[in-house]
Amino acid sequence: MTTLSTPALPRRQATVLALSAVAFVAAPFVVSNYWLYWICLMAINTISATGLNILTGYTGLSSLGQAAFMGVGAYTLALLQQHLPLPFPLALLAAGLVAAIIGLVVGMPSLRVKGLYLAIATIAASVVLEFVFTNWQSVTNGTKGLTLAPASFFGQPLDQPGQLYWVIVPTAIVLVAMAANLFRTRVGRAFIAIRDRDISAEVLGIPLLRYKLMSFGLASFYAGVAGGLWAFFFRVVTPDAFPIVLSIFFLAAIIVGGLGTIAGGVIGAIFMTLVPELLRLVFGLLTAWVPDAMAVIPSVRSIIFGALIVGFLLFEPQGIAAIVSRISRRSRARASC
C-alpha cells in the first residue's frame, strides 16, 4: 500500500491482501467476543493514530489534542443521537467534521508561527475542551456524561462487539486506505515537502499555512470519527474519558509504530492497545504475591508509555515498521542467495 507506483500487484502483495480479506470476513465467526472487543478497540485507536500520523509523521507538526478531539467527536455523536437522529454513517461523518472545524479554529492562530506552537495550542485546547465537557451542564450533562442507545442498522440494534465489528473495522480500513492514497496526491506530497523543509516547500509554491491547517484538520477529522465510533462502542461519554494522557498514548503509538509510514500508525495502535491488557495479565499474575498489584497499573502504564516514547525516539526513530521491513529485507536477501 505504501509503494508509490505498482501497475499490477506483485504476487506477494496480492496474497497478503487476499489473506487479510479472508481474515477480515472470517474473524467475527471464529474469534471469541473477548478478542472481538480488542479488535474493535484496536481499529478505533488505529483511526486516531493514523490521523495523528498524517500530522506528526508526514507533516512534521505535533498535537497533544488528539484525545480531546476524539471527545468532540464522541459528544457530537451522542448529542446528534439525542436531538437529531441521523443514520449512523452520516452521524460519524458529522462527528469527524465538527472535530475538524474545532481543530481548524485551534490551529488557525498557532500555525501562523513555528510548528511547535501548535502542540502548545492543542494542550490549551485540551484543557478548554475538558472544561467545556465538564461544566456545560445543560448540553453535556456534566461529569455524569451522556448515554447512547446502540447504533442501529435497518432497525437491527448493534450492541455486541461482534456486530459493531462490521461498522468499526471497515471504517478503519477505509480511512487507513484513504490516508495511504493521500500521499500519492498533490496534497499529501505537499505535507511531506513541508515536513522535510518548510522553506523550500514554500519556495516551490506550497502555501504553508493552508496545507498545515489542512493536515491538522484531517488529523482532527480522523480523531472525531474515532471518537464517534468510541461513543458507539462504549455507549457512555464522560468528560474524563479523554485526558491528555490519551493524547500521549496516541503520540506514543505512532512513535513506536513508525512516524511517517501508514503501516507504522496501524502497528503502533495495535501494539499500544495491547500494552495495557498485557499489563493487566502480568499484574493479575502478580496479585498472587502482591495483593494490590492491580492498583498500580495506571502508574506503570504511564512509565511504560513514557519509556517507549523516549526509547524509540532515541534508538529506533523509525519505529517497529522499520524493524519489520529490515527483517523482511534480510530474509528476502537470504532467500535469493
Binding site: 505535533s62 485546547a125 514554500e202 513514557g306
Partner: protein
C-alpha cells in the same frame, strides 16, 4: 461597589502565585535559550523536587538546612543526567522530536512518583509560623509571603549572575549561535549540561516552595502546564517577558478564583494563552522569529 481591601488581598495572593510561576518559568527560558529545547517536563521536575524534599523531611526527618541543599543538588544532578542521556543524543533531530522526548520523560516521572508515593496528596513540613501577616490592612498567608520572598530573591540573584558572572558569556554566546560559539572555543556541550543542571535545580527548588504553599500530589504537573502557558505568553526567550506574564497570570488566576471559583483557574490561564497566540504569537517580549522568506 468594589471591596478594595478584598481586592488588595486578592492582588497580593496573585503576586505570590506569580512569583511561584516565574521561578520555573525562568528555568524553562534558561533551557530554551541555551539549547533551543522546549522542555515540557519542567513541571514534573518541579514535582520531583517537591517529593524529594517530602521524602527527606517527612520520611527521614531531616532538618530543613540539610534537606534543601540536598534537593537542589539532586535536582541539578537530575537535569545534567537527563541532558546527557536523553537530550544530547537527539542533537540535530527536529525540535518536535526533542519536544516529544520531554513529553515521554514527563510521563515517566509522573508514573514513578505515583508508584513511589501513591496518589493521595501530602503536606510539606514548613517552618513558617502560622501567625497571620498583615501588609497595611490586607491579610497575607505567611507561607505565601515567604515563598514570594524566596522566589524573588532567587530570580534577582540568577539575573545578576547571568549578567555579571564571566562564565555567563559562554551561555549567551551559545544562545546566540552554538556553531560560532563552538568555533570560538566555547565548550558547547558543557554549556548544555550546565543550563539543564541549573534549570532543573531551580525547578526542584521551586517545587519545594510550591509544595509548601499548596501541598504536593502527582497532579502537580498541571502546575507545569500553567508554567508553559506563562512562558509562551511572556515569550520563549525573554526572562523579563516571563516575569511579566507570570505576574499577569498569577493575578488573573487569583481574581478568577476569588470571584468565580477554583474550577475556573486553569481555563482562565489557557484562554489567555489562546488569546495571546491569536494576537501576539511570539509572546509579550519574545523575539518574533523570522522563518519565512
Amino acid at each position: 461597589m468594589i471591596d478594595w481591601l478584598f481586592l488588595a488581598e486578592v492582588t497580593l495572593a496573585g503576586l505570590g502565585t506569580g512569583a511561584l510561576l516565574a521561578l520555573p518559568g525562568v528555568a524553562f527560558v534558561l533551557i530554551y535559550k541555551a539549547t533551543k529545547v522546549v522542555n515540557l517536563a519542567i513541571g514534573e521536575t518541579l514535582m520531583l523536587g517537591a517529593y524529594a524534599y517530602f521524602a527527606l523531611t517527612s520520611g527521614l526527618g531531616w532538618p530543613l538546612w540539610l534537606a534543601v541543599p540536598l534537593v537542589l543538588a539532586a535536582g541539578g544532578g537530575f537535569g545534567a543526567l537527563v541532558e546527557r542521556i536523553m537530550i544530547r543524543p537527539m542533537l540535530g533531530s527536529s525540535a518536535i522530536s526533542v519536544f516529544m522526548v520531554t513529553i515521554g520523560l514527563g510521563a515517566m516521572i509522573v508514573g514513578a512518583v505515583e508508584l513511589a508515593w501513591g496518589l493521595e496528596p501530602h503536606r510539606l513540613v514548613t517552618h513558617t509560623s502560622e501567625a497571620p501577616l498583615f501588609i497595611g490592612e490586607a491579610y497575607v498567608p505567611r507561607k505565601t509571603a515567604a515563598a514570594f520572598g524566596v522566589a524573588t530573591l532567587v530570580i534577582v540573584v540568577l539575573l545578576l549572575v547571568l549578567r555579571l558572572w564571566p562564565g555567563s558569556l559562554a551561555l549567551r554566546a551559545t544562545a546566540t549561535d552554538p556553531g560560532a560559539a563552538y568555533s570560538c572555543g566555547v565548550s558547547v556541550p558543557r554549556v548544555y549540561s550546565f543550563s539543564w543542571a541549573i534549570a532543573s535545580m531551580i525547578a526542584a527548588g521551586a517545587g519545594i516552595l510550591v509544595g509548601a504553599v499548596a501541598g504536593i500530589s502527582p497532579g502537580m504537573g498541571v502546575f507545569g502546564l500553567t508554567v508553559l502557558a506563562v512562558v509562551i505568553m511572556g515569550g520563549l526567550d525573554s526572562v523579563l517577558g516571563v516575569l511579566l506574564a507570570a505576574l499577569l497570570v498569577g493575578f488573573a488566576e487569583s481574581v478568577v478564583v476569588a470571584y468565580l471559583g477554583g474550577e475556573y483557574k486553569l481555563i482562565t490561564t489557557f484562554a489567555l494563552l489562546l488569546l495571546m497566540l491569536l494576537v501576539r504569537p511570539h509572546g509579550l517580549l519574545g523575539t518574533a522569529e523570522i522563518d519565512r522568506l
